[in-house]
Amino acid sequence: GPKVLQIPSHQIIDMGQMVTLNCDPVSNHLYFYWYKQILGQQMEFLVNFYNGKVMEKSKLFKDQFSVERPDGSYFTLKIQPTALEDSAVYFCASSLLSAETLYFGSGTRLTVL
């Protein structure tokens, strides 16, 4: 079936540094999402992105977070600066239509030291 690829699978960085998580969504999809899952906890919605704009974001999507997809390349989540509480697995998803069938990547495990 359609695949969403996330790069890297693991990332370890020092608190205060910048990190960029990359997502290669399904090729013809138009809507892109980031979710955050802290170990043992629920999958939490961060943001929905469409046509170059954030359509909806949650309270977890702090000012230090930003998303973009320049020229149809990777859909990225940038955190600058990182904090200890940003340690989690971040999942990217895409869908053809808004909030319809979501396809997920395998996640990027981010560890902030």
């Binding site: 629920q42 939490e44 929905n48 697995v89 999942f91 909030a99 319809e100 997920f104 395998s106």
Partner: protein
């Protein structure tokens, strides 16, 4: 905020038996999706429903927007069905798909 309440949190089945997972919604949802997390940690989409029921093999899902719930029925459970199942739903006019807390299913011989 929108809440998706999923139950049970854990479920044990013997091979060949069946059961149902349920999600209740605290508000009217437009559509629901069901996922299984595979051994690699990826979420595999099982169903997308905006109404009614859908069936795929030994799995069947139902969604009642008015009554604010969705179910996932598993029949003739097999060992490979073990894993964590999630429901997720969105409101009309929203862009946010909210997840339940998951059901950890263990199928034993």
């Amino acid at each position: 905020g929108d809440q998706v309440e999923q139950s049970p949190s854990a479920l044990s089945l013997h091979e060949g038996t069946g059961s149902a997972l349920r999600c209740n919604f605290t508000t009217t949802m437009r559509a629901v999706q069901w996922f299984r997390k595979n051994s690699r940690g990826s979420l595999i989409n099982l169903f997308y429903l905006a109404s009614g029921t859908k069936e795929n093999g030994r799995l069947k899902s139902a969604f009642d927007s008015k009554e604010r719930y969705s179910t996932l029925h598993i029949r003739d459970a097999q060992l490979e069905d073990s894993g964590t199942y999630f429901c997720a739903a969105d409101r009309t006019g929203g862009y946010k798909v909210v997840f339940g807390s998951g059901t950890r299913l263990l199928v034993s011989p």
